[in-house]
């Protein structure tokens, strides 16, 4: 019953989420809500200190929180060390994921030499070209394009108007969001005098299992080898990944990041928003690069790296610019400080 409506008892949830229950296990909740907006029947959560002030006044039926906050919770509590993970797990348990109906829409264009599993759902105006293989329970939303020779693993969703170029392979349980373009030509040209000669981009793109790729993100095909996105990688919107890159498993890349060609990024990295990474670099496992930083050299040790300048009021900022300008133009002063 619970699985259909998304309703669960706190007893069920505590067990499934991995939390310690403080309160009545028979209480039922139906949906997640923020502390300030939750009402009766809602499950809420607290992981960000900013919202702690709402804990005492929340009308939620129960709250997922950390041991440190449990004492201040006036309602039932699901207590665990990582309440954000608890929120994620509970939301998945309560969310009734819509199951798209199997079948090919009358307006879809599926090439006779493509193979689409009979459990897959192909939406209006979706296109599947010759030689493509679409696995079980795959969802191809409206207007998505799967070009010749692509292979898509089971339970993957290709959302509206996304494009998979020729020969792209996508693993199982992936989500490719609307408008993403996977497998366009990499940006490769050689100079011939003033003109550019295009270098044919003959590699492909290989995407592992459980990968999520944001809307309007672009991932280019390799020049000779495949561009590879390993299992469990999560990529936000409007990210550019150049040809021949390899992104290690479980790395997360925030929005507006640009990664030039032939970059290798390790496993479990966190790349902050709008970071830029120059071509042919290597980044080790477990590296964090904070937002708006520029990576111009390889990073061979785990750790946190930065080069983003925080905004100042405009007058202060102009003083910064003037000071460094002055420094750069007064070599003697700076030489002296070096000598001391």
């Amino acid at each position: 019953m619970g699985s259909k409506t998304g309703q669960k008892t706190l007893g069920e949830l505590a067990a499934q989420v991995g939390a310690e229950l403080h309160g009545d296990p028979a209480i039922t909740v139906r949906r997640l809500a923020t502390l300030d907006q939750a009402g009766a029947g809602d499950l809420s959560f607290l992981y960000n200190r900013r919202y702690r002030k709402f804990l005492k006044v929340t009308a939620a039926s129960a709250v997922i929180l950390s041991p440190a906050d449990a004492a201040d919770c006036a309602v039932a509590a699901l207590v665990m060390d990582n309440p954000y993970l608890g929120y994620a797990r509970a939301a998945n348990l309560l969310a009734a994921a819509p199951q798209p109906p199997a079948g090919v829409h009358a307006t879809a264009a599926v090439h006779p030499e493509a193979h689409v599993d009979e459990s897959a759902c192909v939406g209006p105006h979706a296109v599947v070209e010759a030689g493509a293989e679409v696995g079980e329970h795959v969802l191809l939303e409206a207007g998505s394009v799967v070009q010749r020779g692509c292979r898509i693993g089971g339970y993957t969703r290709i959302e509206a108007n996304a494009v998979l170029g020729p020969g792209v392979t996508v693993g199982r349980r992936c989500i490719i969001h609307a408008g993403a373009v996977i497998g366009a030509d990499g940006f490769g040209f050689a100079r011939d005098g003033h003109r550019w000669v295009k270098i044919p981009q003959m590699g492909g793109v290989h995407i592992g299992d459980d990968v999520e790729i944001g809307s309007n993100t672009t991932i280019d095909r390799g020049a000779l080898k495949d561009t590879c996105i390993e299992d469990g990688v999560k990529i936000d919107n409007l990210v550019q990944i150049g040809h021949n890159c390899r992104i290690g498993a479980h790395t997360a890349i925030a929005g507006c990041v640009g990664i030039a060609g032939s970059v290798t990024i390790g496993r479990r990295c966190l790349i902050g928003g709008a970071v830029g990474i120059a071509g042919h670099l290597e980044i080790a496992d477990d590296v964090t690069v904070t937002a708006m930083s520029g990576v111009h050299k390889s990073i061979l040790k785990p750790g946190v790296y930065s080069s983003g300048w925080p905004v100042q009021d405009n007058r202060t900022w102009h003083r910064y610019l003037a000071q460094i300008n002055r420094l750069a133009r007064s070599p003697r002063q700076s030489d002296r400080s070096d000598d001391e």
Copy 2:
């Protein structure tokens, strides 16, 4: 008559634009043109000093300009304090906006459970899914996708291949440019050891009236609440707006801006090109952030804020880098300057 061909007399224009006419009210103009390119029958304008040199030599029939420039104008003039606004108003009066014909193209895929007003225009290969409501005089261009349960207010245009995800609401007189994706999942994951657990994105996106959203811009649906874009907001191309954001009325956001999740931006703000704004911040009303700045903390007072570094010739720039590097590595020197 004038309204059909876009032809107007200067007398009509002066009254409708709110300018003082210097010259013959019976002169007619047909179209706008820049000072250097205008000829007989053209209306020109001057608001940018850079182009003042063309005023004396222009062949335009009339020029919209400020009182300060009126004396130097050899042809008829429409004089007002804000000639840029005058240009905008005159261009709207002279432009014959093409009215798309009502009706659903034979190749469009409109679900039987969707409601499309009979005055709306649905282009080739456009998709309207179940439960969607499309208002009067709406234009859905070729290949646009309106997913289940969306609501679109009157006179709004959804341009080619743009996507509205499930349940998105768009107000009246909006323009969503080609390739924009409104309502894809927000980027929300919780760590479970090395793996990521997806947080279901159950909120929507609510867009007010008179909003314009640029091509290939992405606006994510909320995790629990709606992402909100208030009335009159103007957003340029390739902008990313994360889940749960609220953008206040009449704020303008230039191209390539990235705004992380749960950011609240006030009314009448100006966000310059390629600015980045970190998650969970608050920005007051009437804040300007100049191009390429990074906002890492909330901004609670109106004003102008910056952190963009202006380009230098490469040698000077390397001197900047060397100087600050030296400073950061000579703590005694810097301590001393602090003591003084």
Copy 3:
């Protein structure tokens, strides 16, 4: 024969690529491969020092390389000053470019008042609106949209789901990659109190011959004149080019660059990744701007320009921030250093 299968003798290649052959001219190669992955029948290349270590151990049948590296090559060699250009030329000779079959797919929507050359290939769900002219051997991929009055020159490819807005002209032998949007409205608004008045965008976009435009890149139509992309320009993915810009011939623009409105860029420039360029500026011929730099003033001399900060470990970076903060807030100290 060779042209069909892509197989060539080294003798043929040396002549066609413009290299000096060291080795047996009768040796045949079929495809390009990197030094470490090449096997018998493969042609490899060396232009990046990083990969020099693989030269002695490669199993390639032949290698394209510079005179300086020729002595260390154990297999046949095609020796030339610019081996990267040699690689590009050889790859084009060996790659069997797929020739799309002429004809209009049954699901394409071609307006009766459009003209499509009979040698063109129009893919599934592609749209060609009234008044458009599509030249010989043009390829319109699945879901691409060519709006009213566009003109597309011979041998140009418009890839999946790309959009050409009304009246856009594209030259010969161009490639517009998937999801690109050419000819959406520029971002032009005048303030009227707190509200914005849209400025009609009545210019077009003109794209020369041999231009390549990356996936999900956006190029806006002009306000009054055309936005112009001259012959041979190469633009990477997710680039924004504002209205009224002119990009000079043979300039290359890397990914994630944002160019505001009315910017003129000269010929043969190199604009690095994620560079931002403010509105109304002029950039001379032969200017290089390195990655992540911000251009706030016109650049009138050829040369290399920068303002990108290279990433540091987070502690060092915080020391940078502290030092410049200290400097900016201690005016006496900085004044004094100036006096010395």
